[in-house]
């Protein structure tokens, strides 16, 4: 399998260097954690040998977190207006077909045989844009969707630096895969690469809850990966402190026959409602749509503007 060959070529070294010096008050040892990078490109992490219980105050608390976050993604059925047209069209006319249908028709005799695409989902990705450091709002304009490549997206929840660093590394690994195998990486493989990268640091305090969304030859792909080692495939995920509020809205509005605009509006509304109730979510709602041609940035709207839009008609 292509994935295992990628992992074999980089040595995954799980051993720790145990010759750290613990002389009181002086040097803190450096640990060589060869994780899964190309040789000659090792990541060295210096470890603070804790001489006491964890220091809750100080820099740990002041690191920016995206715990205050709502990110959500769901697969949706897309109404193909092409399919509807086929229903109505007459026997001999050939209108705009998708390539799948065209192929099927060529193989048939003169009988007009129409194949309506059943499994053409897309993935809608919606996120907020707030980053907090304790109770301080560090930024309202964070980009929580990382564009790994033109057909793969990753979302960020948890530690801001953790998410952006590891997903940027994932983008690099995906590109290496493309160069080695002359084909795009699948969503399953990309999410597995990310999960394996962070698993080596399990228990060391990384905080990352991300969704890898994309389109590959198996269709739309949506995986949830986190720093605890979870990696699950699914149709709908919401991650972050505001996820419960988002789930409520999406679960009640999700139907099989949503159009693209309706699905986008559902995602937008879900994030807006989450920012309304969750103190740690807010800023803007960024919406992306992943389809067979890749991803498109649908919209970016300020939550305040959405508030007027949704609440005004009630008055």
């Amino acid at each position: 399998m292509a994935l295992s060959s990628v992992l074999q070529s980089e040595s995954a070294d799980f051993s720790f260097n145990n010759d750290r010096s613990f002389s009181f008050g002086c040097r803190f040892g450096q640990t060589n954690l060869g994780f899964g990078a190309a040789p000659g490109d090792r990541l060295n992490f210096a470890i603070k040998a804790s001489l006491g219980p964890d220091d809750k105050d100080g820099p740990e608390r002041k690191i920016e977190f995206l715990h205050g976050t709502t990110t959500l993604a769901f697969k949706c059925w897309i109404n193909f207006s092409v399919a509807e047209r086929n229903h109505q069209r007459t026997a001999s006319k050939a209108t705009n077909f998708s390539s799948q249908e065209q192929l099927a028709l060529l193989n048939q005799p003169a009988i007009p045989f129409v194949i309506i695409p059943q499994f053409q989902h897309g993935v809608i990705v919606a996120v907020d844009s707030r980053a907090t450091a304790g109770a301080y709002i560090a930024s309202q304009t964070v980009k929580k969707v990382i564009e790994i490549n033109p057909y793969l997206l990753g979302t960020m929840a948890g530690g801001a630096a953790d998410c952006s660093f590891w997903e940027r590394l994932l983008a690099r690994q995906c590109r290496v895969y493309e160069l080695r195998n002359k084909e795009r990486i699948s969503v399953a493989a990309a999410s597995k690469l990310l999960a394996n990268m962070v698993y080596q640091y399990k228990g060391m305090g990384l905080s990352m809850g991300t969704m890898v969304c994309g389109w590959d030859k198996r269709g739309p792909g949506l995986y949830y990966v986190d720093s605890e080692g979870n990696r699950v495939c699914g149709d709908l995920f919401a991650v972050g402190s505001g996820s419960m509020y988002a789930y409520g809205v999406v679960d009640s509005g999700l139907r099989q026959d949503l159009s693209v605009e309706e699905a986008c509006e559902l995602g937008r509304r879900a994030i807006y409602q989450a920012t309304y109730r969750d103190a740690y979510s807010g800023g803007q709602v960024n919406l992306y749509h992943v389809h067979s041609e890749g991803w498109t940035r649908v919209s970016q709207e300020d939550v305040l503007k959405l508030h007027h839009q949704y609440q005004e008609p009630k008055k």
């Binding site: 008050g25 603070k48 100080g58 690191i63 920016e64 980053a131 450091a133 560090a138 964070v142 801001a160």
Partner: protein, 238 residues
């Protein structure tokens, strides 16, 4: 110099100034030296400003320790937090800049420095540099650029940002005056250099009023295509 220690009581919380009971001294590799930095990006300029007070605990070590460091002709970085890590970090950045210049035969751009700093900071993810960085400079098109960081390397490009001890006081003021937030029906005028410098001075005067770690003097570095100009303005010394 003093050993940086923190005084813990029975329940693990830090103790008050007049506490006289039993204490447990633990060595902490960090100490907090105060200071505030601020950066603003304009159409064709960038401003990086910092106060010059270096404190520790209840004392002031120096009244003339600015926190802006010149990296290239088009980039200035402001670092506040733990002074030891600030010094080491700027030395590492200078070394990496030289290495880049030697291998690529050109200077690093502001965006490249920002991306590099992010990975340098993340390299110490499990023993962070206790530094709040803000980079101000000109991007490749000559427009002002500000990049703000957290201690472990998360960063983004902004128009304006305050970091350090008085950041929570300054940032809302900048949001209102430069970002026109929470103002209805106001014309969004672009910021010119003179107004920006005056705003920075006013904002630091306010910070010095209410933050004990900010004061003494203000160092302003103005980055334009003609180079970097430095200005020093006195602040409250109490």
């Amino acid at each position: 110099t003093m050993f940086a220690t923190q005084v813990y009581g029975d329940n693990g919380k830090m103790k008050e100034y007049h506490y006289t009971g039993p204490v447990e001294h633990r060595f902490s590799p960090y100490s907090f030296n105060g200071g505030t930095v601020l950066a603003v990006a304009g159409e064709d300029f960038a401003i990086v400003a910092s106060d010059t007070r270096l404190s520790e605990g209840y004392s002031i070590h120096s009244r003339d320790s600015p926190k802006c460091y010149k990296l290239t002709d088009t980039t200035v970085i402001g670092c506040s937090g733990f002074h030891g890590d600030c010094l080491t970090l700027t030395k590492i950045i200078d070394a990496r800049l030289k290495m880049y210049k030697h291998s690529n035969n050109k200077c690093m751009t502001s965006g490249a420095i920002a991306a590099m700093l992010s990975t340098i900071l993340y390299g110490r993810r499990f023993f962070p540099y206790y530094v709040y960085n803000i980079i101000g400079g000109l991007d490749e098109e000559g427009k002002g650029a500000v990049y703000s960081f957290d201690p472990v390397g998360s960063y983004q490009r902004d128009t304006y940002k305050a970091g350090g001890s008085a950041s929570a006081m300054l940032q809302p003021l900048l949001d209102n005056q430069i970002g026109f937030k929470n103002m209805e029906g106001v014309q969004h005028l672009p910021l010119n250099q003179e107004k920006a410098v005056q705003l920075v001075k006013d904002v630091f005067i306010s910070a010095a009023e209410r933050d004990v770690y900010t004061g003494d003097a203000l160092r302003i570095c103005i980055v334009t295509k003609d180079g970097i100009k430095e200005e020093t303005v006195p602040l409250r010394k109490d």
